[in-house]
């Protein structure tokens, strides 16, 4: 394909330059030029520190009237067996003090095994699986646990640069006990060869922080002649209810 897009080499060099001298950052940079779509979509001023109050201190509440337990199984939603590698993703949602986030909403969405989303905007010429929508929801348990049965998503191409491919991932949307803990992220699979090349993943400049987005294969979660198990725990930011001044970082 003819293209005026930059090469992977150019983008990888930009990533390396931005990583040099970066250390200990725990969240992605908002200003990360190798991810071209971020150029005009990141604030240029520092975030303003504010003491949360009122509605910011109370997360929305979800319950069993909001979702159906079958929404946690993405392999049974569309009237037939989806194609692909059946997996379970299981873990816990904790707050910054290590407390489980109980009874809270977790939402996921993902591509199918061929790397195709059911979305009008996804024109990647890979097959749609009519038995897979790639959307799931559940409520966490008393110990903060969640679990989704799904199909391992495939990597897919995008137009950030020439021959750009996203590592396989599942989008996660999370709530805590305060609205200040709201977050959306992506879970990745261990050993993906595309990690080093991906400007979205690499917008997190610290390897230890990047590792926190990678699930681990857990054979104890795998089921005989049925599916493979991955474990991924999620930590939200700290709450303010038990805020100790010494923690103000």
């Amino acid at each position: 394909m003819m293209s005026n897009l930059d090469s992977q080499e150019v983008v990888s060099k930009e990533i390396a330059d931005l990583h040099a001298g970066a250390e200990g950052e725990t969240q992605p940079r908002l200003d990360f030029a190798p991810y071209r779509s971020s150029l005009l979509r990141h604030p240029t001023k520092d975030l303003r520190h504010a003491d949360p109050e009122g509605a910011e201190l109370v997360a929305p509440v979800f319950g069993h009237s909001d979702i159906d337990p079958v929404e946690a199984d993405l392999t049974i939603q569309a009237g037939g067996e989806p194609i692909g590698e059946r997996i379970v993703v299981r873990g816990r949602v904790l707050d910054g003090d290590g407390r489980p986030v109980r009874g809270q909403l977790v939402e996921i969405w993902q591509a199918n095994a061929a790397g195709r989303y059911i979305h009008k905007g996804d024109q990647h010429p890979a097959p749609i699986d009519r038995h897979f929508t790639g959307v799931g929801r559940c409520l966490t348990g008393d110990d903060g646990s969640y679990a989704f049965t799904t199909i391992k998503p495939g990597p897919y191409p995008w137009r950030n640069h020439h021959n750009a491919w996203r590592p396989a991932h599942i989008h996660f949307s999370l709530f805590g006990t305060e609205f200040t803990q709201r977050m959306i992220t992506q879970m990745y699979f261990p050993g993906d060869p595309l990690f080093a090349l991906d400007p979205i993943y690499q917008a997190i400049t610290d390897q230890k922080a990047r590792d926190r987005l990678v699930a681990t294969y857990d054979h104890d979660l795998s089921e005989h002649e049925w599916l493979l198990g991955y474990r991924w725990d999620i930590v939200l930011t700290g709450t303010h209810g038990t805020w100790m001044e010494a923690d103000d970082a």
């Binding site: 509605a55 910054g96 407390r99 200040t180």
Partner: protein
């Protein structure tokens, strides 16, 4: 207690439309209710162009300043006010919630909608506030607004339109860049 490091955020990406929106997601109250107000606006990028793939959420108190903690947002029946809503912008960057005007969380305080912004190209969510216009004393005394220069401050106060609706535009970047917030204990 252990102080754990938070999991990093990532962009919402371009493909959330078939997953996150739900029926009546933006109707915190039914549109026909006498006290219903429309909170609406446009999300712009640094070139001043509307962003067609952003998603906003609001969290708010009711008219008395109480923040509801009740289920029922995902299957709204029109009778329960949950104080939370979600709205994906349209192809020209516009969002619109139907809700009520929140009361202040403390007497004499400045009332606001807590707003969270997600977008393709935005690597982590952003928090801001859409303050309710009108109560000049309360706005004047608000600790966040008091620390801002006038232009930045004005950007956080919704505008009362002639039709009674509240307009709050979000500028991710540029001369009119919205003030975005970090909270203590956030890395």
């Amino acid at each position: 207690m252990p102080d754990l490091v938070a999991t990093p955020g990532q962009t919402i990406g371009p493909f959330f439309h078939y997953a996150l929106p739900f029926d009546r997601d933006r109707e915190l109250v039914p549109p026909g209710r006498p006290d219903a107000v429309r909170l609406h606006g446009t999300v712009y990028d640094g070139a001043g162009k509307p962003i067609p793939d952003a998603l906003l959420e609001i969290r708010q108190a009711d008219a008395t300043g109480q923040v509801p903690a009740v289920e029922g947002s995902l299957r709204r029946d029109g009778t329960v006010f949950t104080g939370w809503g979600r709205c994906a912008v349209d192809s020209v960057g516009r969002y619109s919630f139907t809700t009520v005007v929140p009361g202040p969380s403390s007497p004499g305080g400045a009332a606001f909608y807590a707003v969270t912004v997600f977008a393709r190209g935005l690597l982590n969510r952003l928090f801001t506030r859409a303050y309710i216009p009108g109560d000049a004393d309360a706005l004047e005394a608000d600790p966040l607004l008091a620390g801002l220069d006038p232009e930045a401050r004005d950007g956080l106060v919704a505008v009362r339109e002639e039709d009674g609706s509240l307009r709050f535009d979000v500028h991710l970047q540029g001369g009119r860049e919205t003030v975005f917030l970090a909270f203590p204990r956030h890395a």
